[in-house]
């Protein structure tokens, strides 16, 4: 069971949240190229290890929470609000 530390509500069970995917993707400007939009909509690094991602607190305050979580161990390293820059542990790209 993931326990996610919502900045507004405190630590809550994953069951209160809805997963919203990779949080490193930034929406391109409206007149950006098709390639940029393709990358934004479809391309994911899909790391085996640390992943920065969105969890929507639908069963609570309904804010979007940013989470740094390990996709291999399910360990949660950091949680914050949408604007926060969260630290990603060193082994970010490689294996555990």
């Amino acid at each position: 069971m993931h326990r996610i530390n919502c900045p507004w509500c405190g630590e809550r069970d994953e069951a209160e949240f809805q997963y919203q995917g990779d949080a490193t993707k930034v929406r391109p400007k409206e007149d950006a190229s098709e390639a940029k939009y393709f990358d934004y909509v479809y391309v994911r690094e899909n790391p085996k290890g640390w992943h920065t991602e969105w969890w929507h607190h639908v069963g609570g305050c309904r804010q979007w929470v940013k989470v740094v979580r390990n996709t291999l161990t399910h360990e949660i390293h950091a949680c914050g609000g949408p604007q926060d820059k969260l630290p990603v542990p060193r082994a970010a790209k490689g294996r555990r």
Partner: protein, 417 residues
Amino acid sequence: MKYSALSVLWQGLTGHKGWTRAWRDPEPKKEYDAIIIGGGGHGLATAYYLAKEHGITNVAVLEKGWIGGGNVGRNTTIVRSNYMLGPNTHFYEKSMQLWEGLEQDFNFNAMVSQRGVINLFHSDPQRDAFARRGNAMRMAGIDAELLDPAQLKQMVPILDFDNARFPIQGGLMQRRGGTVRHDAVAWGYARGADSRGVDIIQNCEVTNIRVEGDKVVGVDTNRGFIKGKKVGMAVAGHTSKIAQMAGINDLPVESHVLQAFVSEGVKPLIDTVVTFGAGHFYISQSDKGGLVYGGDLDGYNSYAQRGNLPMMEHVMAGGMAIMPAIGRVRMLRHWGGIMDMSFDGSPFICKTPIKNLYLNGGWCYGGFKATPASGWCFAHTIAQDRPHELNEAFTIERFKEGRMIDEKGVGPRPWIQ
């Protein structure tokens, strides 16, 4: 050695001392005409059809663990061809036809059981949607039948027909669908490929794909460099990782965990496959008597091969809603597997931007039923260096070209595909 009723009888009389191993355990050679990465169902089937259909036998299948340790040995064994969109319809029907002759073809008992697959519906719009799917199937020459509650009651009396939230109005049935013993599929293909000269190399992890110029030349492994004229990737949940080794960084794939469950053995309770899509639950019964059931993805990126409690509870709740009688049956085992979720729910069987490097992946949670056709089409693609018409739509480029094959119509959200 050919397996037959006679060989079982003879071995029984002679103390079972004459059985030989089903496949060899060779050392990797320095070079192969084709290397297949991943000894799951798809990789093994590919090697089998490369040898059998195309006469390419100098082939290695490289598996980092043991064959059958991945999703091919973790799925809930359901096979069906009830798809609606053209490319899927024909591809999965090819697979169904290969299942129907598979055991004779590779001389192995895979326990192919065409016990039928029933999708329940609970409202008028849902019935219309299922009728439409059934019609699309029938127009493609595939069997489909709309059942009314009276017919269903005869077949699966254990369902809660008067469920307050999801009253059962009927079901869409494909009688030719059913189950197949998953491990035996891996073993049968492995044995069939091995006997035609393919090397199946276990405990051999690919750590790098070597590309020179615009062409693949081989793979680095924990057992050294192996040269390959052609290389096929078929690693399911690790599709992104393996493609990144070759510098392909733009795949629309996420890895997610899916769980499955088996109960203690009980007397015959359900002799078909029932899916309760509205409640995210599906179930069948194994020949040993265990109820085999599952539901949805846990719903977050994962490579962990194990899931979490909320989804477990959700699946059990779904089962209780539609089949309350199973409430006192004890759950015996559960596990997870890593699904290569593509962004439209459909697979890739295609060439890549790198010459002689081929991709098989994006199977989501429905790739077991695809195993024979996937191997058959991938072998064709590798041998001929061009896709067969059955897999020509399963490209990477379809996302750039706006030709997604989104059977569910939910858009680019891999965790609900």
